[in-house]
Amino acid sequence: MRSLNTTRSKTRLSNSNLLFIIAGVIFVLMYGFALISYPGSFMQFQTFFDLFNLNAALFIITLGLCVVMIAGGIDISVGAVCGLVTMACALLLESPMGSILGALLLALAIGTAFGVMHGFLIAYLEIQPFIITLGGMFLAQGLLTTLHKDPINVTMPAFVALRNYTIEIPWLGTVNRLGYFIPSEIKPGVIVVVVLVILYAVLMKWSRFGRNVYAIGGNSQSARMLGINVKRTRFFSYVICGLTAGISGFVFLMTTGAGNIGNGALFEMKAIASNVIGGILLNGGVGNLLGAPIGTLTLLTINELIRAAGVQSNLQAIVSGLLLYIFIVLQSIVMALRGNERFRLTLPPWLKPQDKEVENQG
């Protein structure tokens, strides 16, 4: 046999991890910029924790959507499902037979029902996910307004107690102008976020299901040839996404304490944007689950920054839109420079790498 020396190439960073690192760097830069520009507010730990306290539901939705996006799908019904859950749970809690456990189960049931329906239609009947979940979005919105048109404040004592419950971190806080030490506070919703992030990260990295999700997102045809049950994997990705949207609805209610028609509106778009910023590509198969919370944090930091700058609210939207463009183009350029065909982008000449990567393998 000819000598075929096994000169190993240095193991290159995977695309998922590269994008994750980019997302992390962007977040650090963003937050660093915020700290320098507005030390008054961003220097306080509470400001950071409030990002989680106030937006726990968005973090959770983003996680579920992340699983679907890695599988190569999309679910735009999540925001509406979240809103529907807040209203349904609020109604249940206000009714005579309301209980917190009952409301939680209701939230899980509604989310799972949507997930199962979408998963079945998309995976087994092979219908475009965009259209199906658009239908789901309208359905959930319609159900939401049918249930109740006016905001409902939940007054059930047990729930109010839960909503107002805060966890103090005695060793982390700020000293206010009067010299009092004020400890940082986090809400129960944040615990849910942390638990779910860990759970989903483990699921995607170490479970057979998680790896199958990556495989079908990368190339579903190949995945089938490799012996993976593509349909079942796709089905469960939507079930998980729906279930997560249900949980987020409950957490939303725990944050605001009221069922409202506007709850969860546009969350699906924010979640998609967060995921993309976090390095989870819409094509599927590429992305680190931890990118989802990082992306959400980046998006929220941008919003906070703009608010701190006192820009008019219509300008806020414009600025976040422009920043989103910049991030995505940045990602694409990095991927294109890697010489990976899948992400090729026509670069202007001054951006082209001088010497083409020839050393693909050893």
Partner: protein
């Protein structure tokens, strides 16, 4: 060295509606043998493989694996019995690591043991000498290494038989050598390998045995070392050497042409033909000869800019032009009738009329539509001219026979009145009568001053039509034949010797 038989296929027959794909074919594979399966397009190579791996149900015959008759209903089932297939298109997930690609979909455990999996992969890769790291993302490996990984996956599943279907077509020289090294290693381990390729030189480099199929029939099994290349080619093409020399060649009149209408120098395309020079004169009919996969189609596609042109200079009527897209080429008066009629040529649901005026309409631009009356006149005119058999001009083209569909596509190009028309396999899959009609039409058009390039898998057809043949082998032009040397004998000789 004949060792024990691992696979024996006997009397395999398979028909599709209207086509007899395999007729009473035998095939034997031994342990540790690299067995090349050769044949031109439609010879039945892929049908045989598909019958073996359970993609198709056979009509007659039996497969005996390790002395036991077997019958597979799916490739998965064949794989579980030790028959692995590696296709040209890599069936792996580019976004997963090398190790994952080797083991995914096979584990019963609900959780992934990364350490254990990487260690097993590492062991496998180094024992086979595959230059990849288990934790590397597959997309960062070269195509050759990716192919090797899919072979490693098959080997790890205890394959006794490995089928390599055109594994080398997208590899460069160096990568081919690496793949061959791996194949020799597997051979030493006693794996029987079925190797399908269009590259004749590779067959002689690596294989022990050659089985030739033609038109669904077994021509024979030969020891590679005892079969000269020229004989192999004549067996694949189905011309006995003695017949060949008997054909009288009449010198075609060289009229007062010699005005080049199209000239290319150093033309190359993304489809992977070596840079080539090409000229065609007014009223000339030339052709690209060579076996399937030799780069015939890729060359004409480069001329028409149907694949991305990556280099070279083009002159049309003596003027330098840049042809970047098929539309550019069309506007310069070049027409191209593609090889795959179904995929590139016809739009099945559209009527005969709409299919005929398609190219003309595109050239005029969509803002100056042809009037319905004009379109109808054109359609009727060409239906008569070419004798297209269709119930009406509004009939959807997909309901016409293959020969008539081909004539419609031809009419489409004639309507644009090109000065240079490329016909890639215009007669494939159509009946003999229509074939002759198309050949006559080509000669008539040339007489009227059109230049044509004609490609066909049937060499005698090309000899009848063309005055000059450009001979290709392994994606490279190896020579040119015209005048007295334009014979089958010379053509085959040239393909066999490959200019070396």
């Amino acid at each position: 060295m004949r060792s024990e038989t691992v696979l024996n296929m006997e009397g395999i027959s398979k028909s599709f509606p209207g086509v007899r794909a395999l007729h009473n074919v035998d095939f034997t594979l031994r342990k540790g043998e690299i067995h090349a399966l050769m044949g031109e397009n439609g010879a039945g190579k892929s049908t045989l493989i598909k019958v073996l791996t359970g993609v198709y149900e056979k009509d007659a015959g039996q497969s005996i694996l390790d002395g036991k008759p077997v019958h597979f209903r799916s490739p998965q089932e064949a794989l579980s019995m030790g028959i692995g297939t590696v296709f040209q298109e890599i069936a792996l997930c580019p976004n997963l690591t090398v190790a994952e690609n080797m083991f995914i979909g096979r584990s019963r455990s609900r959780f992934v043991q990364w350490k254990e999996m990487n260690a097993k992969a590492e062991e496998m890769l180094s024992s086979l000498g595959i230059p990849a790291s288990p934790t590397q993302e597959l997309s960062s490996c070269s195509i050759a290494v990716q192919q090797m990984v899919s072979i490693a996956r098959a080997i790890d599943m205890d394959c006794k038989i490995l089928i390599l279907d055109e594994p080398t077509s997208s590899l460069d020289e160096d990568e081919v050598q690496k793949l061959f090294a791996l194949m020799r290693e597997l051979k030493a381990r006693g794996v029987g390998i079925i190797f399908i390729t269009h590259f004749i030189d590779q067959v002689y480099e690596i294989s022990d045995t050659i089985t030739v199929l033609r038109n669904g029939e077994l021509i024979g099994e030969y020891q590679t070392s005892k079969l000269p290349q020229i004989e192999l080619i004549s067996k694949m093409m189905g011309k006995a050497l003695s017949d060949v020399s008997a054909i009288e060649k009449q010198e075609k009149s060289k009229s007062a042409r010699s005005v080049p209408v199209f000239e290319a120098t150093g033309l190359s395309s993304a489809a992977g033909v070596r840079p080539f020079d090409f000229t065609i004169e007014k009223g000339e009919v030339n052709g690209f000869a060579g076996l399937l996969g030799s780069g015939r189609s890729e060359s004409v596609r480069a001329i028409f800019a149907a694949d991305k042109v990556t280099g070279g200079e083009v002159k049309v009527n003596g003027k330098r032009v840049k042809l970047k897209t098929p539309l550019h080429a069309m506007k310069k008066g070049i027409g191209y009738l593609p090889e795959d009629r179904k995929r590139d040529g016809i739009i099945g649901e559209l009527s005969v009329r709409d299919n005929i005026i398609l190219a003309l309409q595109v050239m005029k631009g969509f803002f100056r539509p042809l009037s319905r009356k004009q379109a109808e006149e054109f359609a009727v005119e060409y239906i008569q001219k070419l004798g297209i058999k269709t119930p009406s001009i509004d009939t959807p083209i997909e309901s016409l026979s293959g020969g008539n569909q081909q004539k419609v596509v031809l009419a489409r190009w004639l309507l644009t009145n090109p000065m240079y028309l490329i016909l890639d396999e215009p007669t494939r899959g159509i009946d003999v009568g229509t074939k002759v009609e198309i050949q006559k039409l080509v000669l008539k058009l040339a007489e009227d001053g059109m230049s044509l390039t004609f490609i066909s898998s049937e060499i005698d057809e090309m000899l009848r039509v063309c005055t000059r043949l450009i001979v290709m082998k392994d994606r490279e032009i190896v020579g040119e034949l015209s005048g007295m040397s334009l014979t089958e004998q010379d053509t085959m000789q040239m393909i066999a010797q490959g200019g070396k």
